[in-house]
Symmetry: C2
């Protein structure tokens, strides 16, 4: 049986980069979880002594602090820089970009509309760089906020939002405002994993999707695979694999959610190789 | 029988303004037809001695030249200003605006996309203010021009285009470029006439639509009226009215295309009043 990985799977560019930065900054703490994955955070603690603090006052003087992938609010970054600590910035460059854009647009006198979830750490960070930003997830919310906005509006999107939803926000703004300055800050990583899973699951006669059973993006991958390959299975790690899944199969496709580290994927592949079919 | 005019009909703001300017500038010439209506151009010639020249070299020294509602290309305006003539600008302010925008955006280094018909006088004027503009009527045309465009694009629309078509252009640009600066330069006048015709034709039991039989916007008005009021008639002037249309009717609704002057509308109303029903 051939085992084939999807062309794109697992961690995105920003997460891979942040982990590399953390590995190269041992004996440090991250301010907030570096990424949304507990296994990986435990590994960084055990192998590199990279700890975790949740509050700024927990940061010890002279220590080394890593800023998380999603970024942090401007005022907190400022406090860190003012303290006697070494700041290592692991903010994804695709997140730094909207932070810079909304800061610049606010300076130029535009109203700022952010398409995203105001409770998500990424958006909390981006919001902190804008003056009186309006943060919305739907046209209905935007409609309510319309009277607050000037005739010149600049807009950015949370990196993981769907493009088709962003166009609805932009088209509504276009209809009601004289100028809309649209910055496409959506990152394709999630969609690249989905496209690759779709492609591979059309060929494979068994598909293994690796990721958290509560992870929304993993479930989306699993649903895509199941549409094309009825023998698709979702596992969190190698212990959940069942030998009978692979009986008589010729091509086993593998993909993984955006929060699944490579070492878990490798362990799953090794286990499948050992299953006699 | 009651006779009721639609809440919005006939000439738009820019055309009314241009005619007023022409009436206040007698013994002059317009450079290109002032508006797209021969009856009105003849009236201005007869009553105010406002003539028409098609070529810049036909403009006599010391004469007074009126710039048409749709505007003219920048180089031609410059030649007029350099000559020994008085220039009276009747360009619609809603057309001057996109001219200014594309000039400014070109200066700021944006690629300029104009959604409109490159053969229409308005767009010929707007184009002349931009550096290497891309002028398109569809996403297919835009796709072909995509490699020519920088990552920062500014876009304007011909004033009479449909908003829903403009969103298609903008959404395609958003998907392919980092920044899209959208200026909503569409004028609502055409749609206001259509909305008002729809409203009135729902109440009326006979509708008279006044306008050129070849005028695209008049035909659109006629189709809207017919949907709601089967007894709808399209006439170019009062001579085409038939007394039997009004027999037993209670409410006669009236609307007119964007190129129909008020004096023709008034003549039609006077004739209907005289028909015994």
């Amino acid at each position: 049986m051939e085992i084939r990985l999807a062309k794109s799977y697992g961690f995105c560019f920003g997460v891979k980069r942040a982990i590399k930065i953390a590995e190269e900054s041992p004996n440090s703490v991250t301010f907030g979880p570096l990424i949304h994955n507990k296994n990986e955070i435990n590994r960084l603690k055990e192998n590199f002594n990279v700890g975790l603090v949740e509050e700024i006052d927990e940061v010890a003087p002279k220590s080394r602090v890593i800023v998380r992938t999603h970024g942090i609010p401007k005022d907190k970054l400022k406090i860190l820089h003012e303290r006697d600590v070494e700041v290592v910035d692991a903010t994804c460059p695709f997140v730094t970009k909207p932070q810079q854009i909304v800061e610049q647009m606010s300076e130029e006198g535009y109203s700022v509309v952010i398409f995203g979830d105001k409770n998500h750490p990424e958006i909390k960070g981006v919001m902190s760089y804008a003056k009186d930003p309006v943060v919305v997830l739907s046209v209905e919310e935007l409609q309510k906020a319309l009277p607050k906005l000037k005739e010149r509006v600049a807009t950015v999107a949370q990196t993981t939002r769907k493009f088709s939803e962003y166009t609805k926000i932009v088209n509504f703004l276009m209809e009601h405002k004289k100028e809309v300055r649209v910055f496409n800050t959506i990152c394709n990583a999630t969609f690249e994993n989905q496209d690759a899973a779709r492609e591979l699951s059309r060929e494979a006669d068994v598909m293994i999707v690796i990721g958290g059973k509560n992870s929304s993006n993993t479930k989306q991958l699993f649903n895509i695979c199941k549409e094309n390959c009825p023998d698709s299975y979702l596992v969190e790690n190698e212990n959940e694999l069942q030998p009978e899944w692979f009986e008589g199969k010729k091509l086993c496709g593998i993909t993984a959610g955006a929060s699944t580290p490579d070492w878990i994927i490798e362990a799953v592949i090794e286990k499948i190789k050992k299953i006699k079919v």
